[in-house]
Amino acid sequence: MAYSELIKDFESIRAYMRDFYVYGFKSRNEYDKKSARSYDNERRRIESWLGEYMSFHYTGNSKNVFLSVDSRTISANPLYKAFKAKSFTNKDITLHFYILDMLEEGRALTVGEMIEEINRKYLHYFDKPISFDESTVRKKLKEYVSIGLLCVEKKGREVRYKRTDLPTVSLTSWKDALAFYSEESPLGIIGSFLLDRLQGVPDFFRFKHHYMVHTLDSDILCQLLEAIYTQQRVKLTITNLRNALEYQRSLCPLKIYVSTQSGRQYLLGYHYGSNRIAFFRLDAIKKVEIGCKEECFSRYLQLQQKFDQHLWGVSRGNTQALEHIEMTIHVENDEQFIVQRLKREKRHGTVEMIDEHTYRFVADVYDATEMLPWLRTFIGRIVDLQCTNPVVEKGFFEDLQTMETLYGDDKHAVS
């Protein structure tokens, strides 16, 4: 099949874009999922969409392609372009413009009337026009009704189709909001679609700590949100990110947990197989199948709310028991911002003042090992660290020792 810069299936490009953007060190030979030709085509497509953000470097004999962009310097996520590259047939694009044109000015037409008009008003200009049979037109109309571009008016057995322009939404009044939310909101790609309809889009919003790569999971997220809103069960096809093996899970989807510090998105749901709350990374989900209505949705939601009270990140730990942690830190006279940091960054627990220069953070969580990265951000200020999970203290001290060997001299070594 001839190469095209458009794609039929988003899943095929999703992994490549992620690899180019997040990793960026792999050479052509290391993309072993499919053939080398497949790699060449996907790389060429991404280059066609995002050429200005593509870079290359050479390692030995191999050329490594990567995507690199300082997201703070741009007002629109370039990865959205992948969602705007869906392939279509000649009939798809032709019918799109014919149908919407015919139904302008509030007209409502039957399928028969439309086919007659297509032949009389549109196709007769061309020497060798493509022909549209009734089933093709009917299928397209049905599709457009399902996505909300058209609606149906029934009079007896007669079915008429019309556009859904009314009631009108004044998109112009949304311009600023769209420029902001298209980057900042879940499923911001939809905002980008809407912005494409407008002229003079504001260019003054910028985004710090902006994790753009997760837009690649938007299609999955969209389906999960629909299931959560309608309280329906789902069956997920998931790829194990370590060994690439696929497996399936049936669950009641409840919440989407998002890390603002890595951009990772997780589905939290009630997993029927293990009869408990579980997390699933969105970037590992390949397919969502929506099932029947979940009658126990409210009960599962209550379980989630209770569960959330001691959740630091997205780990439930190995046991049901809570782990108690206490971190005491030293604060100099002019370092009240450290106390502010403790207060605003803690997700659970309390901060108490011991004396003018000493504060203690106390919390009970399911898995205190999840806190280690955060605890390390206070390196240089921690007077004392105690945790009922010995792995936390041990891990912290061992890491500190290793850092000492990386950065320091021996005189400070912890014995």
Binding site: E104, I189, L225
Partner: protein, 308 residues
């Protein structure tokens, strides 16, 4: 369905071409220009050909069109539901869009469906009247390219009044805060919106152009990454929003170079510390010095504790 051709660049570009054709002003040159400006790099090979060869029978040989109206498309259900969901967001008061037409639309999701579990809890006061007013004044100044008089408090509660040319509004989802980036005569200011006490538009024309001051040069951080405990994925994802380059060394070791703004050095230091010994900074030396100082100070605390 999110991944659909009706939202695609090709449909959008063809709509733009047909708009000019309906108006009778489409030329070969314009057709090529529209495709070059709005479509993908290789689209010039496909879109003009498909239209001219009548594979898509939309344009006549004289670059007129068989469609009778300027192409428009109603909003899809998905688009309306997403807009309705935005109306439930706490920050929508800053923008005050016209909600007409969405009255009977179900939101795509409820705000509480999302849990931003590591977002800082001292975010901006989005429902505060003064904050909203200030935000909208800044938006107006940005649109109309007007000067602003801004009174604000610093972190140490010192009060300042400045005259500036607003340039950008920067939002951080981690901090849940907006910052105004503005040019003064001598400086570029970055001001937390929540610290602004008052803000008004100056009617006289802007006297400040983009500063001729040299832009603060970005610094480069180089570090080795030891791929233990899934550090490769965690680190690269965590730093993915920077302009960066990753090179694979031996198995399990990678070298990463990333560019950062000098103002963000302390924040970056904390972020590097959070990965502990999985990261070893190689340059710049002043960054290594900062790390050493923190590690030594920490070891001193622990050794003192053990002694007492």
């Amino acid at each position: 369905m999110l991944f659909h051709e009706i939202y695609g660049t090709y449909f959008q570009v063809v709509a733009d071409i047909l708009t000019e054709a309906v108006q009778g002003c489409l030329t070969d040159q314009r057709l090529t220009n529209i495709v070059q400006q709005k479509a993908f790099a290789e689209s010039t090979l496909s879109i003009p050909t498909a239209l001219k060869k009548q594979e898509w029978p939309l344009l006549t040989p004289t670059l007129g069109t068989v469609v009778h109206h300027k192409p428009t498309m109603p909003l899809t259900t998905l688009e309306k539901r997403w807009l309705k969901a935005l109306l439930l967001d706490k920050r929508i008061a800053l923008f005050q869009p016209d909600c007409t037409g969405l009255e009977d639309v179900e939101p795509l999701y409820q705000p509480e469906t999302f849990v931003f579990f590591d977002q800082y809890t001292d975010g901006d006061p989005y429902t505060d009247t003064q904050y909203i007013q200030c935000f909208q004044t800044i938006l107006q100044a940005l649109h109309e390219k007007k000067m602003l008089k801004v009174e604000f408090f610093t972190r140490t509660y010192a009060k300042y009044t400045i005259f500036c040319q607003p340039n950008q509004l920067e939002y951080s989802s981690k901090d849940d805060k907006f910052r105004l980036i503005a040019f003064g005569k001598q400086n570029t200011y970055t001001i937390n919106l929540a610290r602004i006490q008052s803000c008004e538009i100056m009617e006289e024309p802007p006297s400040i152009q983009k500063p001729v001051l040299p832009r603060q040069k970005q610094k480069e951080l180089t570090f080795l990454l030891y791929n233990q405990r899934n550090a490769l994925e965690r680190v690269l994802l965590h730093f993915s929003h920077f302009h960066k380059e990753t090179t694979k060394l031996d198995s399990g070791q990678y070298r990463i170079k990333l560019h950062y703004h000098p103002d963000d050095e302390t924040e970056l230091l904390i972020r590097v510390l959070s990965f502990g010994p999985m990261i070893q900074v190689e340059a710049p030396q002043e960054f290594i010095d900062l790390l050493q100082e923190r590690v030594h100070r920490q070891l001193d605390y622990f050794s003192k504790n053990r002694t007492t």
